[in-house]
Protein backbone atom coordinates (compact mmCIF):
# COMPACT_ATOMS: atom_id res chain seq x y z
CA UNK A 1 0.00 0.00 0.00
CA UNK A 2 1.25 3.49 -0.83
CA UNK A 3 0.42 6.01 1.87
CA UNK A 4 1.94 9.42 2.49
CA UNK A 5 4.11 9.92 5.58
CA UNK A 6 2.21 11.54 8.46
CA UNK A 7 1.58 15.26 8.22
CA UNK A 8 -0.46 17.89 9.96
CA UNK A 9 -3.60 18.80 8.03
CA UNK A 10 -4.94 22.32 7.91
CA UNK A 11 -7.79 23.71 5.92
CA UNK A 12 -7.58 27.27 4.60
CA UNK A 13 -10.79 29.27 4.52
CA UNK A 14 -9.49 32.20 2.45
CA UNK A 15 -6.39 33.22 0.51
CA UNK A 16 -5.28 35.41 3.43
CA UNK A 17 -5.77 32.49 5.80
CA UNK A 18 -3.70 30.24 3.53
CA UNK A 19 -0.86 32.79 3.51
CA UNK A 20 -1.11 33.18 7.28
CA UNK A 21 -0.88 29.38 7.72
CA UNK A 22 2.13 29.22 5.38
CA UNK A 23 3.90 31.91 7.43
CA UNK A 24 3.00 30.27 10.71
CA UNK A 25 3.91 26.68 9.73
CA UNK A 26 7.12 27.53 7.87
CA UNK A 27 8.85 26.16 4.76
CA UNK A 28 7.93 22.50 5.42
CA UNK A 29 4.27 23.32 4.80
CA UNK A 30 2.79 22.82 1.33
CA UNK A 31 -0.45 23.92 -0.25
CA UNK A 32 -2.54 21.15 -1.76
CA UNK A 33 -5.28 21.81 -4.32
CA UNK A 34 -6.35 18.94 -6.59
CA UNK A 35 -3.51 16.86 -5.16
CA UNK A 36 -3.03 14.82 -8.32
CA UNK A 37 0.66 15.64 -8.55
CA UNK A 38 1.56 16.19 -4.91
CA UNK A 39 -0.21 13.19 -3.34
CA UNK A 40 1.42 10.65 -5.71
CA UNK A 41 4.82 12.21 -4.91
CA UNK A 42 4.06 12.02 -1.19
CA UNK A 43 3.12 8.34 -1.51
CA UNK A 44 6.57 7.48 -2.83
CA UNK A 45 8.26 9.97 -0.46
CA UNK A 46 9.56 12.21 -3.23
CA UNK A 47 7.72 14.87 -1.25
CA UNK A 48 7.38 14.75 2.51
CA UNK A 49 5.83 17.98 3.79
CA UNK A 50 5.27 18.29 7.53
CA UNK A 51 2.03 20.15 6.99
CA UNK A 52 -0.53 20.16 4.22
CA UNK A 53 -2.74 23.20 3.82
CA UNK A 54 -5.84 22.19 1.90
CA UNK A 55 -6.99 25.07 -0.31
CA UNK A 56 -9.97 23.28 -1.88
CA UNK A 57 -12.32 25.56 0.11
CA UNK A 58 -10.89 28.44 -1.97
CA UNK A 59 -12.39 26.99 -5.17
CA UNK A 60 -15.07 29.69 -5.16
CA UNK A 61 -12.63 32.53 -4.41
CA UNK A 62 -9.98 31.39 -6.92
CA UNK A 63 -11.92 29.24 -9.37
CA UNK A 64 -13.50 31.64 -11.83
CA UNK A 65 -12.71 32.45 -15.46
CA UNK A 66 -13.51 36.01 -16.52
CA UNK A 67 -12.58 38.93 -18.73
CA UNK A 68 -10.95 41.89 -16.97
CA UNK A 69 -10.17 44.76 -19.34
CA UNK A 70 -8.05 43.27 -22.12
CA UNK A 71 -7.12 40.07 -20.27
CA UNK A 72 -8.64 36.68 -19.77
CA UNK A 73 -8.29 35.91 -16.06
CA UNK A 74 -8.10 32.28 -14.96
CA UNK A 75 -8.30 31.64 -11.22
CA UNK A 76 -5.57 29.33 -9.92
CA UNK A 77 -8.15 26.89 -8.50
CA UNK A 78 -9.85 26.47 -11.88
CA UNK A 79 -10.19 22.73 -12.42
CA UNK A 80 -8.88 21.38 -15.71
CA UNK A 81 -12.38 20.33 -16.79
CA UNK A 82 -13.69 23.86 -16.19
CA UNK A 83 -11.00 25.34 -18.42
CA UNK A 84 -11.87 22.74 -21.05
CA UNK A 85 -15.59 23.54 -20.87
CA UNK A 86 -15.30 27.35 -20.75
CA UNK A 87 -16.85 29.12 -23.77
CA UNK A 88 -14.72 32.21 -22.98
CA UNK A 89 -11.53 30.18 -23.20
CA UNK A 90 -12.70 28.50 -26.40
CA UNK A 91 -13.52 31.86 -27.98
CA UNK A 92 -10.19 33.53 -27.22
CA UNK A 93 -7.57 30.81 -26.73
CA UNK A 94 -8.47 27.43 -28.26
CA UNK A 95 -4.85 26.37 -27.55
CA UNK A 96 -5.80 25.94 -23.88
CA UNK A 97 -8.60 23.56 -24.79
CA UNK A 98 -6.37 21.68 -27.24
CA UNK A 99 -4.00 21.18 -24.30
CA UNK A 100 -6.69 20.30 -21.76
CA UNK A 101 -8.09 17.56 -23.99
CA UNK A 102 -4.79 15.71 -23.65
CA UNK A 103 -4.07 16.39 -19.97
CA UNK A 104 -4.56 13.14 -18.05
CA UNK A 105 -8.16 11.86 -18.31
CA UNK A 106 -11.64 13.27 -17.60
CA UNK A 107 -11.75 11.98 -14.01
CA UNK A 108 -8.34 13.43 -13.12
CA UNK A 109 -9.36 16.70 -14.78
CA UNK A 110 -12.25 16.95 -12.32
CA UNK A 111 -9.74 17.48 -9.50
CA UNK A 112 -6.52 18.84 -10.96
CA UNK A 113 -6.17 22.62 -11.06
CA UNK A 114 -4.47 25.09 -13.39
CA UNK A 115 -2.48 26.66 -10.55
CA UNK A 116 -1.44 23.31 -9.16
CA UNK A 117 -0.16 22.18 -12.55
CA UNK A 118 1.90 25.34 -13.00
CA UNK A 119 3.32 25.23 -9.47
CA UNK A 120 4.18 21.55 -9.76
CA UNK A 121 6.49 22.70 -12.59
CA UNK A 122 6.87 19.30 -14.16
CA UNK A 123 9.12 19.71 -17.23
CA UNK A 124 6.47 17.93 -19.34
CA UNK A 125 3.56 20.03 -18.10
CA UNK A 126 1.28 21.08 -20.95
CA UNK A 127 -0.21 24.33 -19.64
CA UNK A 128 3.23 25.72 -18.81
CA UNK A 129 4.12 25.54 -22.51
CA UNK A 130 0.74 26.85 -23.69
CA UNK A 131 0.60 29.76 -21.24
CA UNK A 132 4.23 30.67 -21.89
CA UNK A 133 3.47 30.81 -25.61
CA UNK A 134 0.50 33.07 -24.86
CA UNK A 135 2.72 35.53 -22.94
CA UNK A 136 0.49 35.06 -19.89
CA UNK A 137 1.38 36.43 -16.47
CA UNK A 138 0.97 34.82 -13.07
CA UNK A 139 -0.27 36.73 -10.04
CA UNK A 140 1.45 35.64 -6.83
CA UNK A 141 0.25 36.81 -3.44
CA UNK A 142 1.98 37.00 -0.09
CA UNK A 143 1.25 38.88 3.13
CA UNK A 144 2.94 41.97 1.62
CA UNK A 145 0.59 42.04 -1.37
CA UNK A 146 0.51 40.72 -4.93
CA UNK A 147 3.16 40.64 -7.61
CA UNK A 148 2.96 39.78 -11.25
CA UNK A 149 5.43 37.45 -12.97
CA UNK A 150 5.47 36.38 -16.63
CA UNK A 151 4.69 32.66 -16.83
CA UNK A 152 7.96 32.46 -18.78
CA UNK A 153 9.77 33.44 -15.61
CA UNK A 154 7.69 31.34 -13.23
CA UNK A 155 9.78 28.20 -13.57
CA UNK A 156 13.40 28.24 -12.45
CA UNK A 157 13.97 24.53 -13.09
CA UNK A 158 12.28 21.15 -12.87
CA UNK A 159 9.74 21.22 -10.01
CA UNK A 160 10.91 24.68 -8.96
CA UNK A 161 9.12 28.01 -9.28
CA UNK A 162 9.65 31.56 -8.10
CA UNK A 163 6.60 31.26 -5.83
CA UNK A 164 7.97 31.81 -2.31
CA UNK A 165 7.47 29.57 0.72
CA UNK A 166 4.74 31.83 2.08
CA UNK A 167 3.18 32.82 -1.22
CA UNK A 168 0.30 31.50 -3.29
CA UNK A 169 -0.35 31.67 -7.02
CA UNK A 170 -3.81 33.23 -7.29
CA UNK A 171 -4.51 33.76 -10.98
CA UNK A 172 -3.23 33.68 -14.54
CA UNK A 173 -3.82 36.65 -16.81
CA UNK A 174 -3.71 36.10 -20.56
CA UNK A 175 -3.56 39.28 -22.67
CA UNK A 176 -6.21 39.46 -25.40
CA UNK A 177 -4.88 41.00 -28.60
CA UNK A 178 -6.46 41.20 -32.05
CA UNK A 179 -5.59 38.76 -34.81
CA UNK A 180 -4.66 35.93 -32.46
CA UNK A 181 -4.57 32.28 -33.50
CA UNK A 182 -3.31 29.46 -31.27
CA UNK A 183 -2.97 25.68 -31.22
CA UNK A 184 -1.35 22.87 -29.23
CA UNK A 185 0.08 19.57 -30.49
CA UNK A 186 1.27 16.70 -28.34
CA UNK A 187 2.51 13.16 -28.84
CA UNK A 188 2.14 10.79 -25.90
CA UNK A 189 2.67 7.04 -25.51
CA UNK A 190 -0.92 6.36 -24.50
CA UNK A 191 -4.06 8.28 -23.59
CA UNK A 192 -3.57 10.52 -20.59
CA UNK A 193 0.21 10.19 -20.38
CA UNK A 194 2.74 12.98 -20.07
CA UNK A 195 4.09 14.24 -23.39
CA UNK A 196 6.97 12.61 -25.21
CA UNK A 197 7.11 16.06 -26.75
CA UNK A 198 4.61 18.83 -27.32
CA UNK A 199 4.47 22.23 -28.97
CA UNK A 200 2.35 25.32 -28.39
CA UNK A 201 2.05 27.91 -31.15
CA UNK A 202 0.49 31.37 -30.93
CA UNK A 203 0.55 33.98 -33.68
CA UNK A 204 -0.79 37.50 -33.73
CA UNK A 205 -1.47 38.67 -37.28
CA UNK A 206 -2.16 42.01 -38.90
CA UNK A 207 -2.59 42.46 -42.65
CA UNK A 208 -1.23 39.01 -43.45
CA UNK A 209 1.93 39.55 -41.39
CA UNK A 210 2.83 37.80 -38.12
CA UNK A 211 3.39 40.78 -35.82
CA UNK A 212 4.17 38.65 -32.76
CA UNK A 213 4.47 34.97 -31.94
CA UNK A 214 4.81 32.61 -29.00
CA UNK A 215 6.32 29.14 -29.32
CA UNK A 216 6.13 26.88 -26.27
CA UNK A 217 7.66 23.43 -25.88
CA UNK A 218 7.14 20.84 -23.14
CA UNK A 219 9.13 17.71 -22.25
CA UNK A 220 12.10 18.57 -24.49
CA UNK A 221 14.28 20.60 -22.12
CA UNK A 222 13.41 24.01 -23.54
CA UNK A 223 14.50 26.84 -21.24
CA UNK A 224 11.39 28.27 -19.58
CA UNK A 225 9.21 26.12 -21.90
CA UNK A 226 9.79 28.46 -24.88
CA UNK A 227 11.81 28.84 -28.07
CA UNK A 228 12.83 32.49 -28.57
CA UNK A 229 14.67 31.55 -31.77
CA UNK A 230 11.49 30.18 -33.34
CA UNK A 231 9.59 33.28 -32.25
CA UNK A 232 12.21 35.54 -33.83
CA UNK A 233 11.96 33.54 -37.06
CA UNK A 234 8.23 34.30 -37.24
CA UNK A 235 8.01 37.98 -36.29
CA UNK A 236 7.46 40.30 -39.24
CA UNK A 237 7.02 37.41 -41.68
CA UNK A 238 4.15 36.17 -43.81
CA UNK A 239 3.05 32.73 -42.60
CA UNK A 240 4.31 30.80 -45.62
CA UNK A 241 5.17 27.11 -45.41
CA UNK A 242 8.83 28.10 -45.76
CA UNK A 243 8.64 30.41 -42.75
CA UNK A 244 6.78 27.81 -40.69
CA UNK A 245 9.33 25.11 -41.49
CA UNK A 246 12.20 27.48 -40.65
CA UNK A 247 10.62 28.37 -37.29
CA UNK A 248 10.04 24.68 -36.55
CA UNK A 249 13.67 23.92 -37.34
CA UNK A 250 14.75 26.71 -35.01
CA UNK A 251 12.60 25.26 -32.21
CA UNK A 252 14.05 21.78 -32.76
CA UNK A 253 17.60 23.13 -32.75
CA UNK A 254 17.09 25.25 -29.64
CA UNK A 255 15.54 22.66 -27.32
CA UNK A 256 17.58 20.19 -25.31
CA UNK A 257 15.75 16.86 -24.93
CA UNK A 258 17.20 13.92 -23.04
CA UNK A 259 16.85 10.22 -23.66
CA UNK A 260 14.59 8.46 -21.18
CA UNK A 261 11.87 5.79 -21.04
CA UNK A 262 9.69 7.96 -23.29
CA UNK A 263 12.16 7.90 -26.16
CA UNK A 264 15.60 8.85 -27.46
CA UNK A 265 16.67 12.49 -27.53
CA UNK A 266 16.87 12.65 -31.33
CA UNK A 267 13.31 11.36 -31.70
CA UNK A 268 12.10 14.01 -29.26
CA UNK A 269 14.01 16.71 -31.13
CA UNK A 270 12.38 15.58 -34.37
CA UNK A 271 8.97 15.70 -32.67
CA UNK A 272 9.63 19.19 -31.30
CA UNK A 273 10.14 20.45 -34.85
CA UNK A 274 7.30 18.53 -36.45
CA UNK A 275 4.79 19.42 -33.73
CA UNK A 276 5.83 23.09 -33.85
CA UNK A 277 5.11 23.10 -37.59
CA UNK A 278 1.73 21.38 -37.15
CA UNK A 279 0.70 23.70 -34.32
CA UNK A 280 1.81 26.75 -36.33
CA UNK A 281 -0.24 25.72 -39.36
CA UNK A 282 -3.36 25.37 -37.20
CA UNK A 283 -2.64 28.58 -35.29
CA UNK A 284 -2.31 30.54 -38.54
CA UNK A 285 -5.52 29.00 -39.91
CA UNK A 286 -7.34 29.99 -36.73
CA UNK A 287 -5.94 33.53 -36.85
CA UNK A 288 -7.22 33.78 -40.41
CA UNK A 289 -10.68 32.71 -39.30
CA UNK A 290 -10.60 29.00 -40.08
CA UNK A 291 -10.83 26.09 -37.69
Amino acid sequence: MQTPAPFGYERATSVDHAIQLLEQLGPEARLVAGGHSLLPMMKIRLAQPEHLIDINPLAAELGSISIDGDSLVIGAMTRHNDLLASPLVGEHFPILQDAERVIADPVVRNRGTVGGSLCQADPAEDLSAALSALHATATIRGSGGSRSVPVRELHVGPYETVVGDAEILTEIRVPIRNGCGSAYEKVERRVGDWAIASAAAVVWMDGGIITDAGIGLAAVGADHFVSPAAEAALRGQQPTEEVIVAAAAAAAAECNPSTDQRGPAEYKRHLAGELTARALRRAVARAQGGQ
Binding site: M1, Q2, T3, P4, A5, P6, F7, G8, Y9, R11, V32, G35, H36, L39, P40, K43, L52, D54, N56, A104, D105, P106, V107, V108, N110, R111, V191, G192
Partner: protein, 169 residues
Protein backbone atom coordinates in the same frame (compact mmCIF):
# COMPACT_ATOMS: atom_id res chain seq x y z
CA UNK B 1 -14.19 19.23 11.07
CA UNK B 2 -12.30 19.11 14.33
CA UNK B 3 -8.70 18.28 15.08
CA UNK B 4 -8.28 15.96 18.04
CA UNK B 5 -4.58 16.32 17.69
CA UNK B 6 -2.02 17.11 15.06
CA UNK B 7 -2.46 14.27 12.61
CA UNK B 8 -5.99 13.00 13.27
CA UNK B 9 -9.13 14.32 11.64
CA UNK B 10 -12.82 13.68 11.95
CA UNK B 11 -14.51 13.22 8.59
CA UNK B 12 -18.26 13.52 8.07
CA UNK B 13 -19.73 12.41 4.77
CA UNK B 14 -23.07 11.39 3.36
CA UNK B 15 -22.45 8.12 1.61
CA UNK B 16 -25.19 6.67 -0.59
CA UNK B 17 -27.67 8.81 1.35
CA UNK B 18 -26.46 7.84 4.82
CA UNK B 19 -24.67 10.33 7.12
CA UNK B 20 -21.45 8.91 8.60
CA UNK B 21 -18.70 10.39 10.75
CA UNK B 22 -15.39 8.62 11.35
CA UNK B 23 -12.01 9.52 12.80
CA UNK B 24 -8.94 8.81 10.74
CA UNK B 25 -5.35 9.83 10.20
CA UNK B 26 -5.05 12.96 8.07
CA UNK B 27 -2.97 10.95 5.60
CA UNK B 28 -5.69 8.36 5.03
CA UNK B 29 -6.72 8.24 1.39
CA UNK B 30 -10.40 8.37 0.56
CA UNK B 31 -10.36 4.87 -0.97
CA UNK B 32 -9.15 3.35 2.30
CA UNK B 33 -11.59 5.47 4.32
CA UNK B 34 -14.46 4.12 2.21
CA UNK B 35 -13.28 0.52 2.42
CA UNK B 36 -11.98 0.38 5.97
CA UNK B 37 -13.89 3.03 7.92
CA UNK B 38 -17.20 2.98 6.08
CA UNK B 39 -17.00 -0.76 5.37
CA UNK B 40 -17.97 -0.36 1.74
CA UNK B 41 -15.64 -2.69 -0.13
CA UNK B 42 -17.40 -2.42 -3.49
CA UNK B 43 -15.00 0.41 -4.32
CA UNK B 44 -11.79 -1.26 -5.39
CA UNK B 45 -8.23 -0.21 -4.83
CA UNK B 46 -5.89 -0.74 -7.73
CA UNK B 47 -2.81 1.02 -9.04
CA UNK B 48 -2.52 3.68 -6.30
CA UNK B 49 -1.22 6.13 -8.90
CA UNK B 50 -4.44 7.64 -10.33
CA UNK B 51 -4.05 5.69 -13.56
CA UNK B 52 -6.36 2.68 -13.43
CA UNK B 53 -9.64 4.20 -12.23
CA UNK B 54 -10.96 1.21 -10.27
CA UNK B 55 -11.27 3.43 -7.15
CA UNK B 56 -13.51 6.02 -8.79
CA UNK B 57 -16.37 7.23 -6.62
CA UNK B 58 -18.68 10.18 -7.03
CA UNK B 59 -17.83 13.16 -4.79
CA UNK B 60 -20.51 15.86 -4.83
CA UNK B 61 -21.73 14.52 -8.15
CA UNK B 62 -18.34 14.28 -9.88
CA UNK B 63 -16.28 11.14 -10.41
CA UNK B 64 -12.97 11.26 -8.57
CA UNK B 65 -10.07 8.81 -8.20
CA UNK B 66 -10.35 8.13 -4.49
CA UNK B 67 -6.74 6.86 -4.21
CA UNK B 68 -5.58 10.39 -4.97
CA UNK B 69 -7.79 12.33 -2.60
CA UNK B 70 -7.43 12.52 1.16
CA UNK B 71 -10.42 11.43 3.21
CA UNK B 72 -10.06 14.78 4.99
CA UNK B 73 -10.73 16.56 1.70
CA UNK B 74 -14.09 14.80 1.44
CA UNK B 75 -15.32 16.17 4.76
CA UNK B 76 -18.85 17.48 4.22
CA UNK B 77 -19.17 15.83 0.81
CA UNK B 78 -21.85 13.60 -0.63
CA UNK B 79 -20.37 10.33 -1.86
CA UNK B 80 -21.89 7.75 -4.16
CA UNK B 81 -20.17 4.40 -4.42
CA UNK B 82 -21.14 1.37 -6.46
CA UNK B 83 -23.30 0.22 -3.55
CA UNK B 84 -25.43 3.34 -4.08
CA UNK B 85 -26.30 2.65 -7.70
CA UNK B 86 -29.11 0.20 -7.05
CA UNK B 87 -32.50 1.77 -6.33
CA UNK B 88 -35.73 0.47 -4.80
CA UNK B 89 -36.77 -0.39 -8.36
CA UNK B 90 -33.79 -2.70 -8.79
CA UNK B 91 -30.51 -2.47 -10.59
CA UNK B 92 -29.50 0.85 -12.13
CA UNK B 93 -29.70 0.80 -15.97
CA UNK B 94 -25.89 0.97 -16.04
CA UNK B 95 -25.69 -2.15 -13.88
CA UNK B 96 -28.25 -3.81 -16.13
CA UNK B 97 -26.19 -2.83 -19.17
CA UNK B 98 -23.00 -4.37 -17.78
CA UNK B 99 -24.97 -7.55 -17.03
CA UNK B 100 -26.84 -7.76 -20.32
CA UNK B 101 -23.90 -6.85 -22.56
CA UNK B 102 -21.22 -8.80 -20.66
CA UNK B 103 -19.43 -5.57 -19.78
CA UNK B 104 -17.24 -7.37 -17.27
CA UNK B 105 -15.24 -10.52 -16.89
CA UNK B 106 -13.18 -10.43 -13.70
CA UNK B 107 -15.14 -7.45 -12.40
CA UNK B 108 -12.24 -5.63 -10.81
CA UNK B 109 -12.63 -2.43 -12.85
CA UNK B 110 -16.43 -2.55 -12.87
CA UNK B 111 -17.31 -0.38 -9.83
CA UNK B 112 -15.18 2.55 -11.05
CA UNK B 113 -16.25 1.96 -14.63
CA UNK B 114 -19.93 2.18 -13.68
CA UNK B 115 -19.54 5.32 -11.54
CA UNK B 116 -17.64 7.03 -14.36
CA UNK B 117 -20.27 5.86 -16.87
CA UNK B 118 -23.03 7.30 -14.67
CA UNK B 119 -21.36 10.70 -14.70
CA UNK B 120 -20.77 10.49 -18.44
CA UNK B 121 -24.48 9.84 -19.08
CA UNK B 122 -25.52 12.62 -16.72
CA UNK B 123 -23.48 15.10 -18.76
CA UNK B 124 -24.20 13.55 -22.14
CA UNK B 125 -27.32 11.34 -22.17
CA UNK B 126 -26.80 10.21 -25.75
CA UNK B 127 -23.05 9.79 -26.33
CA UNK B 128 -21.45 8.47 -29.49
CA UNK B 129 -19.15 5.48 -29.29
CA UNK B 130 -16.16 7.83 -29.46
CA UNK B 131 -17.55 9.98 -26.64
CA UNK B 132 -18.03 6.88 -24.49
CA UNK B 133 -14.46 5.72 -25.12
CA UNK B 134 -13.13 9.21 -24.43
CA UNK B 135 -15.31 9.61 -21.34
CA UNK B 136 -14.05 6.32 -19.89
CA UNK B 137 -10.42 6.88 -20.85
CA UNK B 138 -9.48 7.22 -17.20
CA UNK B 139 -10.50 3.61 -16.53
CA UNK B 140 -8.45 0.57 -17.42
CA UNK B 141 -9.97 -2.84 -18.13
CA UNK B 142 -7.66 -5.78 -18.85
CA UNK B 143 -10.38 -8.29 -19.74
CA UNK B 144 -12.98 -7.00 -22.12
CA UNK B 145 -11.05 -4.98 -24.65
CA UNK B 146 -13.65 -2.29 -23.81
CA UNK B 147 -15.96 -3.38 -26.61
CA UNK B 148 -18.68 -4.76 -24.35
CA UNK B 149 -18.25 -1.91 -21.89
CA UNK B 150 -19.10 0.53 -24.67
CA UNK B 151 -22.15 -1.61 -25.50
CA UNK B 152 -23.17 -1.66 -21.84
CA UNK B 153 -23.09 2.13 -21.65
CA UNK B 154 -25.06 2.38 -24.91
CA UNK B 155 -27.62 -0.05 -23.45
CA UNK B 156 -27.93 2.14 -20.35
CA UNK B 157 -28.20 5.33 -22.40
CA UNK B 158 -31.07 3.90 -24.44
CA UNK B 159 -32.82 2.57 -21.37
CA UNK B 160 -32.45 5.83 -19.48
CA UNK B 161 -33.63 8.04 -22.36
CA UNK B 162 -36.58 5.69 -22.96
CA UNK B 163 -37.63 6.04 -19.31
CA UNK B 164 -37.15 9.84 -19.54
CA UNK B 165 -39.50 9.95 -22.53
CA UNK B 166 -41.94 7.68 -20.73
CA UNK B 167 -41.87 9.99 -17.69
CA UNK B 168 -42.46 13.14 -19.70
CA UNK B 169 -45.26 11.81 -21.94
Amino acid sequence: MSHDHHNMVSVSVTVNGEARTEECEARMLLVHFIREKLGLTGTHWGCDTSNCGVCVVSVDGQPVKSCTMLAAMADGAELTTVEGLETADGLHPIQQGFMECHGLQCGFCTPGMMIAAKSLLEQNPNPTEHEIRDGLSGQLCRCTGYHNIVKAVQFAAEKMSASQEGASS
